[in-house]
Symmetry: C2
Subunit: 919 residues, 2 copies
């Protein structure tokens, strides 16, 4: 290791800068940057992440580190005018971790390093505050024994049985014995005694003396911070956040400053703008005479930073602005300087030692969705950031927050969920539990809010699902029926919660030992998958959020991908338009049979399905025709001027067979056949693997009359709308295609019906496009043949993922969790496109398709179309548009803009080939 | 059309040759070849297939054809010394079709063209035989009116209602009126009157006179033959045989010679060797004083050609060898010359006119399997053909004939099947119908032969399936459970016969209006899928056929692909070895639980499946261990010295859940849980799409103890065999892999178990290979990652076809027939690899796999491994071996040799890269 390992900062000069985050970690880089900006920072130095990586490999620190540290320490001593280990004028140090990106609380910190029997006396003399010094020593012993000694000794601390807990117990016992209420009551001599007791206990447990050498303390601290990179907590945090193991952490060694030294000492945290709503106001809180950990510990209520930060809880306390106006002014000037410098809202920490202000940290502040949008719009107006920066600073999940009601986060944080499921439909919902679709409908009519709880849902539950505030199921995955329907409506939904034990007959739900009767309250957090008993308060969404619209228009200026919505009814189509959809990418013609008011068409559909002869079926199809046409016309009208992709009948017929006995009876009666005969017909539709069975175009080939009816409805609806002065753009999409000849066969039929429709309406032509869903692996592989027969491809990535992985989305629950836990899969491939496998199929399909038909319009209509990483992938592989549920259209608009910015470099190469084509 | 359109032959000189089959058709090319060989052939000419194709397009003959025909006709007249249309010395002509490959009976023929009122008189004078001439005229009128006039008039003849039938009725009535028994009784004047009656009826129906102009007759005949290329029969024959529409037919116009002219006239057909058994003996039959059609009509029993051709039916008749020894000798000399020239057995037709021998046709003779093998071995010994030719002359289906009993073809041809299904297991079987597995077993014990008839089969039927002679199911496809199991055993099986209506409770089977009770006889032709009532006679197979062995050894010398077998038990493995398998490509470890004597392990397996906790499961797994080890050891021992690929547990667990109530009760009792609990556990295993559910490696990941048990059994069995002096070569195969990390996870477990086994047996190493099944599309796409973790790939093309097409093999019955009929798919992709789609996936997998691991061993173990076209594909894409059911091993050996020869050219390029690697 010939490279520099240690970077000093302090005295308005630093060797590092904010650009060196990879080497110095976020904290270290920003400390250097602040120093260079002339902002007062306690001096110190950063040991690089490279040293950490090296230490992880070799389990020993490089020999040349010691002299570098020594030299840096000397610079620190010089700036502070104190010396480490010096008896009269001792310098104390903090040792803190600092990775490239923030991992709050995941790694270790040791404060007050440098206190030994000797320096304690010097510090007492110097500060004149014996209590302060012994309290600092007490803190050092507690932290150090826990962080350094226990770990070095290889003693794993299990659930509060570790040394720290034992020392806390000693302290509690002393307080109890002496009748003290809080730590503050402890006298200096109490603390001194406590330190002795601590050291004795440590000796007993670890078999080693607490080190009384300041350098031993320092090196122990440095090694412990490095080692904490591979601690259990840090590793699992990295798994969740996707942070690579190879980054390593830096170590920041800094002169201690004390917010608890005197009455004119304090410590606080602040945000340069309000992180909860984006207001351009300084916002924060502080504690007089305290150290940072005291703020976190919540022993005292922190005071507001200024007038603006006052709330009902702290209005009676004196603000920093009031108590130390000069220092507040100084702090506010740093706030302005930092925000101007970093051009983003900062989260800062400060300490005031004896009337002297020090900045301990600055970093980009976390914010919620509304705040994020507001801040970037403000900063754009202030001209401090570019459009691209504005777009990049808002995350898709922040947009999502704006679109759904949510549980009040202040309340939610205080309560434990009783169960967790898969977060299938985002947002929050509270309601009374019901166990059937009918109950959900009737209770809602009575003005009640309900949560519908089902083992799993099927099309017969749709009315109840629409009525309910939220949906909770015990089975199914992220793309199960419940999840798909709920997401389509933007409804809160949790699925696959396997700890639920539902007894729908007795109307009771068991979760572990807890029993919930019909009518009791549940609250769902569909964004996280958390389930709570009781009714938690909600924050409502702002569907027509003006700032959001403004922000999304900026995204639209940047993105290349078109964004359409999946919608099945005129009202869904209208909502999609409001959310900015540029067309319908998927209208599932069969979805008109689900839900309220659909009894008539559903009944006729069932009649069609139960027909045995072609004649029977033709009759049923004719009866069905007016309903289908009306529906198609409605959606085309709602999307006037924009394209609507209409998918021909897709699911296996048995999905429409009624399950309830009463409905079966009714159907048999109306069909004029025996119950036995009906049952037999229904059974003959049963399939072993319906997902790969007789469905989609296969139905169209074997029962051409069904396809013909749908196609006729499209042409006639279109012709009528044109006569009415509208501009319909239907795109007929054939599903489940595996082979080009399937499309040729259907096309012949389409051509005939087209001719008839033109004749009937006296029109020379009726506008339409003919295309196919690409959802079967073979379709990707033979896309060069398929593309010769169609004008567009629309990737159905749900099915493509199913077939490509051989994963039935309904059955994946049995092993998916194990797969993710064991790191076999990074995530659920039904959530985000599996780019290295399924993505390859998609690329092959696009390449082969465009190789013979360069004008081919290519989109995606699977659930992935609204997932940001997948949207980025769709952009990269050259699709024309994505289509997703209306509620995800804003997210897709943002993600598509992100994709352009992230791919800035490659874009230049591609841009000549791909025109901006949004529809 | 500037090219020559007409090719003459006759007078020992011909313009064409045997090489010109594409242009002249098979018949025309061989007539030319025989002429050039100096063999007497009635002179004539061939109009090319190109004229046919042109005529099909333009619906009119090219103008320049007439002079070419005229010139050729003049040459014919000159050779024959007779003139077409001449009154004194008339030449009569035949007009026959002749396509590139033989399409027997599918197209039209007109004989005796040139008979008119005038020429009739001349011919009577010349032949002195009035009866002969009017009989010839009668034949001309019947053929011509049917073939030429009726079709030209656009009258479609429906089911015997056509003109031919009407003329036959007139003839029958005359015979009846006059009290004649056969045609031979008709007097010359009867025939003359008949001709008049015929012509009158033709006039009445068609509204046109029968043409009395010889050229009109000739051109009518030529056009009719061309037109018959697009006749209904010919088109559907081409569909079945895969003959392209673009080939067209040639027309052969030839001078008539008459086998029915005098007592020293005759006609016959013969084979240069016996086509039924391959004996190198001249074999044939003939009729004195007859025309070719009389032999076919079967009015008289034909006489044997020679002593060798005598049989019980014709022993009393005088052979040609006896009656015309000189002519027989001449014929025999032509036989020798033709066979020597064509170097293959010929099927010849000859006519003797007034003591003068003419050859009418020679072509490669059809033969059955045993004959085909015998002939090529003999010809190899005679050194008349090369090894490659020998191999190419035997088709896979001929080999198949040698391996299974078959219905006596002489009997089968006379009987109509009552139903057709999918030919799932080849060969024939006759037996009494039973409807349950138990009945099949108990009836068989009583010495009865049974056919097991089931809606569909499941693992509980396996005992009955083994006991039955044949299996018949109403549902399922070519790779359904019944089909897979039956083929594995070489058992006759027909599946997916949807016209069956099975009432297993009442033990009755309905097919249309026919009712079959338990115990009635059925005969199955599993090669064709035909089902017959009654008991038909069988010809038994010759499993240990010496000639077959000899022939297959020649194939082995040529082929590059290794051939392994799929076998699950020691006895199957032994049979596979006898059939020449070079290893086991697939041992399904779970198959040990099916069938007789497996109650104990099956019970323990079920216990394992029904376990809820890991502890319960571990216990069950331990109990199961000895059975699994014994089984694995048995197969490894049977294959001593050869590799055995052992697949870890593959199917979804619910497949093993018992369906019978009594077994469920027993299981609940033995597990010590309530029936309710057991039912609940069984239900929790239910999956919506089990084929894409929790199976294969997914089970191995979630229940590692099951995998560990199997792997331990492999290592311990191997170690014990080595200690016993054997050479086991186990290959551990992980199924249903979609992602490399699945394999890495399992490998860690394998490594641990390996270390333990080595320690336990005190061995430094235990030989084994680690590999994966490639059966999920994603595995092909990520093969470069997967290949880094394994030593071999084995393609599971059944599942790859399922996932690649999105076709559930159990549910394909609903639409597959429509797909094939509508020409959307050329054939069932589960039968022969879909090369353009699934084949692409396979190629991608091989390329990506070998790109990172050039030594990767690659094979196939899906059902396709024994299908000739698929074997060829496997060879082409560079696999190392195929694996198939033991009964198909000989077929695969042949097909692999065919592949080498067919790919002779590409082979040269590839051969450097691919070493001959058979195992």
């Amino acid at each position: 290791m010939a490279k520099r390992m240690v970077y000093s900062f302090g005295g308005k000069k630093a060797q590092g800068s904010a650009k060196m985050k990879n080497l110095l970690g976020g904290k270290g880089a920003n400390l250097a940057e602040m120093t260079n900006l002339g902002i007062p920072v306690p001096p110190g130095f950063t040991i690089t992440t490279e040293v950490c990586i090296d230490y992880m490999k070799k389990k020993t620190l490089p020999g040349s580190l010691k002299p570098e540290v020594k030299a840096a320490l000397q610079r620190t001593e010089k700036i502070m005018g104190r010396n480490f280990g010096n008896i009269d004028n001792p310098l104390l140090l903090s040792v803190r971790s600092g990775a490239r990106s923030s991992m709050p609380g995941m790694m270790e910190t040791v404060l007050n390093i440098g206190l030994t029997k000797k320096t304690i006396q010097g510090l007492i003399k110097q500060s004149g505050d014996q209590r302060f010094v012994y309290d600092a020593y007490r803190r050092l012993i507690m932290m150090y024994s826990d962080v350094v000694m226990e770990k070095a000794a290889g003693i794993e601390s299990k659930d509060n049985q570790g040394i720290r807990r034992q020392l806390e117990e000693i302290m509690d016992r002393m307080k109890q014995d002496k009748g003290y209420k809080t730590d503050v009551d402890l006298k200096p001599q109490d603390l001194e005694e406590l330190c002795d007791q601590f050291k004795a206990r440590i000796k007993k447990i670890i078999g080693k003396e607490f080190p009384d050498d300041c350098y031993e303390q320092l090196w122990g601290g440095i090694k412990a911070v490095f080692a904490s990179w591979n601690g259990k907590r840090a590793v699992s945090y990295r798994r969740i956040e996707g942070i690579p193991d190879e980054w390593g952490t830096a170590v920041n060694v800094q002169a201690m400053v004390f917010g608890n030294l005197s009455k004119s000492s304090a410590t606080g945290v602040a945000f340069t703008r309000n992180p909860a709503n984006g207001d351009n106001n300084f916002y924060g809180e502080y504690l007089e005479r305290a150290q940072g950990e005291d703020v976190v510990a919540g022993i005292r209520t922190p005071a507001p930073l200024n007038e603006y930060s006052k709330s009902d809880q702290n209005r009676n306390l004196c603000s920093l602005e009031e108590s130390m106006p000069e220092l507040y002014k100084e702090l506010d000037s740093y706030r302005r300087r930092l925000e101007k410098h970093y051009r983003d809202m900062q989260d800062i920490e400060f300490t005031i030692e004896n009337g002297c202000l020090f900045m301990l940290q600055t970093r980009v502040g976390k914010r919620n969705g509304p705040a994020a949008v507001r801040m970037v719009l403000d900063m754009l107006k202030e001209k401090s950031i570019s459009k691209e920066e504005a777009v990049m600073r808002v995350s898709p999940s922040q947009i999502d927050e704006l679109l759904h009601p949510m549980i009040d986060p202040k309340v939610e944080i205080t309560i434990r969920p009783i169960a967790k499921g898969l977060p299938a439909g985002p947002g929050g919902a509270a309601g009374q539990v019901v166990f059937s679709s009918n109950d959900a409908v009737s209770w809602t009519k009575l003005g009640k809010k309900v949560i519908l709880v089902r083992e799993e849902t099927n099309p017969e539950d749709v009315e109840g699902m629409r009525a309910a505030r939220g949906i909770l199921t015990a089975r199914g995955g992220m793309t199960s029926h419940a999840a798909l329907v709920a997401r389509g409506w933007g409804k809160c939904c949790i699925v696959g919660c396997s700890t639920l034990n539902i007894d729908a007959d007795r109307k009771v739900l068991r979760i572990g030992e807890k029993t919930i009767q019909e009518g009791e309250w549940l609250t769902l957090n569909g964004t996280k998958g958390n389930i709570y008993t009781e009714q938690l308060p909600m924050i409502e969404s702002a569907e027509e959020n003006v700032m959001l619209q403004e922000f999304l228009h900026i995204c639209d200026q940047i993105r290349k991908l078109g964004v359409r919505a999946n919608a099945d009814t005129p009202s869904d189509a209208q909502r999609a338009r409001r959310f900015g959809a540029q067309g319908i990418g998927l209208m599932r013609t069969e979805h008109m049979f689900y839900g309220k008011g659909c009894e008539e068409p559903l009944f006729r559909l069932r009649k069609m399905i139960m027909s045995k002869t072609e004649a029977e079926r033709r009759k049923a199809v004719e009866e069905l025709y007016p309903y289908v046409k009306k529906d198609i016309k409605g959606v085309l009208e709602a999307m006037d001027g924009l394209p609507v992709v209409m998918r021909l009948l897709d699911p296996p017929l048995h999905e429409f067979v009624p399950r309830e006995k009463s409905r079966l009876e009714q159907l048999a009666n109306d069909l004029g056949i025996s119950q036995e005969e009906l049952t037999q017909r229904a059974e003959s539709l049963h399939e072993s693997n319906p997902m790969m069975g007789h469905r989609g175009v296969r139905l169209g080939i074997t029962y051409p009359e069904i396809t013909a009816m749908q196609v006729q409805a499209v042409f006639e609806a279109t012709a009528e709308l044109i006569k009415e002065g509208k501009k319909p753009h239907p795109e007929i999409m054939v599903p489940v295609v595996a082979e080009a000849k399937e499309l040729i066969t259907i096309k012949k039929m389409v051509d005939d019906i087209y001719q008839n429709a033109c004749k009937k309406y006296g029109m020379k032509k009726i506008p339409y496009m003919y295309g196919t869903m690409i959802e079967i692996p073979r379709a990707c592989l033979t896309a060069d043949q398929i593309a010769q027969t169609v004008e567009f491809f629309s990737y159905g990535t749900n099915d493509l993922t199913q077939m490509g992985f051989g994963f039935s989305r309904d059955d994946i629950g049995g092993f998916l969790q194990d797969y993710i836990q064991k790191n076999i899969l990074p995530e659920d491939p039904f959530q985000s496109i599996d780019q290295c496998g399924i993505g390859e199929l998609i690329k092959i399909g696009i390449e082969r398709g465009r190789s013979v038909n360069p004008k081919l319009e290519i989109g995606i209509c699977g659930e992935h179309g609204g997932e940001p990483k997948s949207v980025h992938f769709c952009h990269k592989v050259g699709m024309d548009y994505v289509s997703c549920s209306p509620f995800r259209v804003p997210i897709a608009r943002l993600a598509a803009a992100h994709a352009v910015i992230l791919d800035q470099e490659p874009k230049k190469k591609v841009s000549k080939k791909r025109k901006k084509r949004k529809i």
